[in-house]
């Protein structure tokens, strides 16, 4: 499997009569974009722009998606979730850099989040550095929450493919190739990656080729499939614990393993693993994930990451124990957010001697967010520790992880938790 990503650096977005790319300027025909994402479950659709450095707060953002188009098979962009069901990960794919499609959810979500384009909150998320093209639809009368979310999900994926099409036939600014076949892998430790996605309830889940992972068993996929849109985030129920699809498309753990592949690591593949609810199912999931790592990928060592909050910690601990029991060395990447008081005796909820190599992708912390002049989205989000709601034009105290992109457990952030 050989994937070529054609990168186009966007420095400027303007609304125009036509959608096209002019150098580093992306011109968008707003009406055509609205038409592209229209759905009978929406009453009306606003397209907003959030620019890096601007005094702007996106309220209740949903998924964030990188504009992309699979040139090999354009109709199979985000296969299964939006495009037709064909394998991703091969051929040439357009990816626009410096720009993102952001869903704005106009329904209340219990763990809602926000995104600041400037100020202290902006420092905690990579999405303050992208020009965010915001798809902001209000629900039609009588539409159930999940139906609205389904339409919202489709809208951002359609917009991502539509916008990327503007770069077709243009010369990319950079090209990156992804292939596991390489010289000089002999003698290097065989390292696998268990990517534990989060599946909790419909619309609090992750889509693999369009399928909700709720009843998924662990499966081996090629890392290119994930980089090429096979995996889409749909976690609206616990959105502040979830990485958006943009992060899957540029999966930091997979990119790092590719970077080390052939140098100090032989990257042998990815197992996508699950977070079932019932103990028996958790044990089965851990057993099968470990089996794939040990006997199918024949790994010497494995990196385990998780998405979501508390109970997925049980799954990574079970996988860790099973892997170490079979002689596969493990390391775990985790965000510490068990304890709102930040006490270091409550960092994780499992205890096993095998989990002796863990990296912290930050911890739960509160900070004060200043008022912003411009707001995109009309939903006020819940204010933890209070019955009040957060108004974008006022200062409020909130969790850093409630910044969209402010908590990532997939390796991209520079934050760690300092014990003091």
């Amino acid at each position: 499997m050989r994937l070529q990503k054609l990168y186009y650096d966007i420095e400027n977005v303007v609304f125009d009569a036509k959608t096209y790319l002019d150098g580093h300027s992306l011109h968008i025909n707003r009406d055509e974009l609205i038409e592209t994402v229209a759905d009978k479950r929406f009453a009306d659709i606003t397209i907003g722009l959030a620019i890096p450095g601007e005094s702007c707060r996106i309220m209740n953002p949903g998924d964030i998606v990188q504009p992309t188009l699979r040139l090999e098979d354009e109709k199979a962009t985000f296969p299964g979730a939006q495009g037709e069901m064909r394998r991703a990960g091969n051929g040439k794919t357009i990816a626009l850099r410096g720009v993102a499609v952001a869903e704005v959810c106009e329904r209340f979500l219990s763990l809602g989040c926000f995104l600041d384009m400037s100020g202290p909150g902006a420092e905690h998320t990579p999405f303050s550095e992208t020009i965010n093209i915001c798809i902001d639809p209000t629900p039609a009368a009588g539409v159930e929450l999940n139906d609205y979310l389904e339409a919202l999900k489709a809208a951002s994926l359609k917009a991502a493919a539509y916008l990327a099409k503007a770069a077709k036939d243009h010369t990319p600014d950079a090209v990156e190739e992804f292939a596991l076949e390489r010289e000089g892998l002999e003698g290097l430790p065989r390292v696998a990656y268990i990517f534990q996605i989060f599946n909790h309830a419909p619309y609090t889940d992750t889509l693999l080729y369009g399928d909700s992972g709720l009843s998924m068993l662990p499966v081996v996929v090629h890392p290119n499939e994930i980089l090429d849109g096979a995996l889409v985030n749909r976690d609206y129920g616990q959105i502040s614990n979830a990485d958006p699809t943009f992060v899957y498309q540029n999966h930091p753990m997979i990119l790092e393993l590719y970077r080390r592949h052939g140098k100090d690591v032989n990257f042998v593949g990815v197992v996508v693993s699950n977070t079932p609810h019932v103990v028996t199912d958790k044990n089965r999931n851990a057993m099968l994930a470990t089996g794939l790592v040990k006997y199918t990928l024949k790994a010497d060592a494995v990196i385990i990451t998780k998405e979501g909050g508390g109970h997925p910690q049980v799954d990574i601990a079970l996988i860790c124990d099973d892997c170490e029991g079979l002689g596969v060395k493990t390391a775990i990447l985790i965000s510490e957010f068990l304890s709102p008081s930040n006490a270091t005796d409550e960092t994780v909820l499992f205890t096993t001697k095998n989990a002796d190599a863990m990296v912290a992708a930050g911890c739960l912390e509160f900070m004060i967010f200043p008022p912003m002049e411009k707001a995109i989205g009309g939903i006020k989000i819940a204010n933890p520790g209070s019955t009040a709601f957060c108004d974008p034009h006022e200062a409020f105290r909130h969790r850093i992880k409630s910044i969209r992109g402010g908590m990532s457990q997939l390796g991209g952030l520079l934050y760690t938790s300092m014990k003091y």
Binding site: S110, L111, H124, P189, V191, H200, T204, G237, Q238, P252, M253, L255, E256, L257, D264, V265, D300, A301, V302, I303, G309, G310, K329, A331, I332, I334, E336, F337, S339, P340, S341, N342, A343, T344, D345, E346, T347, V348, T351, A355, D356, A357, M358, V359, A360, G362, C363, E365, T387, L410, G411, G412, L413, L414, Y415, T416, S417, M418, K419, Y420
Partner: protein, 350 residues
């Protein structure tokens, strides 16, 4: 020249040069100058700051009525409008250490200004107050005073300026047992590959997340005679009467409530709400008995499988709950259960 930073310094009778144990019951004395270790502080501060007052108090006097005397001390400190407060160093002296910790904690809380003390790690004051304060780590006696006062001053000035406070090793304070976000030069992806390879190749490495040791909870023995037992239904699924009359939280609860089910064959849809952010409550809202199985229990009582059902169910919200809060809630529940002569509890979670 910039305005000088105003500092108040708290010390005990010994360092205030009133005497040792014989003077330990003396009350509060204020001197509008530096005294004893204040001279070391002043030397480290240089021209930037001045010690506008030194509050001296006998160790027994404050230890015997800690809260009350702490309040009196802080009232006095407040009058001097300080920017920064120092206390000690208290070294290994227990009563003095607790007093320094208590004064500094109260200053931070009430006056909203930074306060720094210094003491030995084994000092009970350190144990009680380290979560609230930066406490400079010292030995057990005043031999290292010159260096200790320098470190107090350095940390105090940093706190006052709102500067980044580094690790306990770098700054010389007692580990507070807390965590916060800091930037690392390498991404977590890079760090974890490094750590995994170190582990694989048998090289030394240091985990970033120490594994907590949770105490084992032994299971209670089984009920021998269920037909004569009283059973209570307990849930952490956040099921409360409609309107949530007790305003129970949606996460991290530190308490529980009991709600009557007397005369109810089942819990009726619409009479209850779910206040819990961690799961999709639609099934529970459609039939609250599936979380708190009152209907099934009534049948078991009718069939004489179970003696009695306690006529209240107990409810809390179990989500992102700290161990401390879980324990607090559990202990209160256990007392309730004991007080009501209940033999067994059925715990339903989500």
């Amino acid at each position: 020249m910039a305005k000088k930073i105003r500092i108040v310094h708290y010390i005990n009778q010994f360092f205030g040069q009133y005497g040792g144990e014989d003077a330990a019951s003396m009350g509060i004395v204020v001197k509008e100058e530096m005294v004893g270790p204040g001279k070391g502080l002043a030397a480290a501060l240089g021209d930037r700051a001045e010690i506008v007052a030194t509050v001296i108090c006998g160790d027994n006097h404050i230890a015997e009525r800690l809260e009350e005397v702490t309040k009196e001390v802080v009232d006095i400190i407040e009058k001097y409008k300080p920017d920064l407060v120092f206390a000690g160093p208290a070294y290994g002296a227990g009563r003095y250490g607790v007093a320094c910790g208590s004064v500094c904690a109260a200053v931070q809380k009430r006056l909203g200004i930074p306060a720094v003390t210094a003491q030995n790690e084994e000092n009970p004051g350190a144990d009680i107050f380290k979560k609230e304060l930066y406490i400079i780590k010292t030995g057990t006696n005043a031999r290292t005073m010159a260096d200790d006062t320098k470190r107090i001053v350095a940390l105090g000035l940093k706190l006052l300026a709102g500067e980044f406070i580094g690790s306990p090793e770098d700054e010389g304070y007692i580990t507070r047992g807390l965590a916060r976000n800091v930037k690392s030069p390498k991404s977590s992806a890079e760090r974890i590959v490094d750590m995994l390879l170190d582990k694989y190749h048998g090289r030394p490495f240091k985990t970033e997340v120490p594994i907590p040791s949770h105490e084992a909870v032994p299971a209670t023995p089984a009920i021998k005679d269920l037909a004569n037992a009283t059973v209570v239904l307990v849930t952490d699924g956040g099921l409360y009467p409609a309107g949530n009359p007790d305003r129970m939280p949606s996460q991290n609860a530190d308490t529980f409530r009991s709600y009557s089910i007397e005369g109810k064959d089942e819990l009726k849809k619409g009479d209850y709400i779910v206040c819990h952010n961690g799961y999709d409550p639609s099934f529970v809202l459609a039939d609250p008995n599936r979380l708190v199985p009152v209907d099934a229990m009534r049948e078991l009582v009718k069939d004489k499988v179970v003696g009695k059902m306690h006529e209240y169910y107990l409810a809390t919200t179990g989500l992102i709950t700290t161990i401390a809060n879980s324990k607090k809630t559990a202990q209160a529940m256990a007392e309730y259960i004991k007080d009501h002569n209940i033999d067994a509890a059925i715990l339903t979670s989500t």
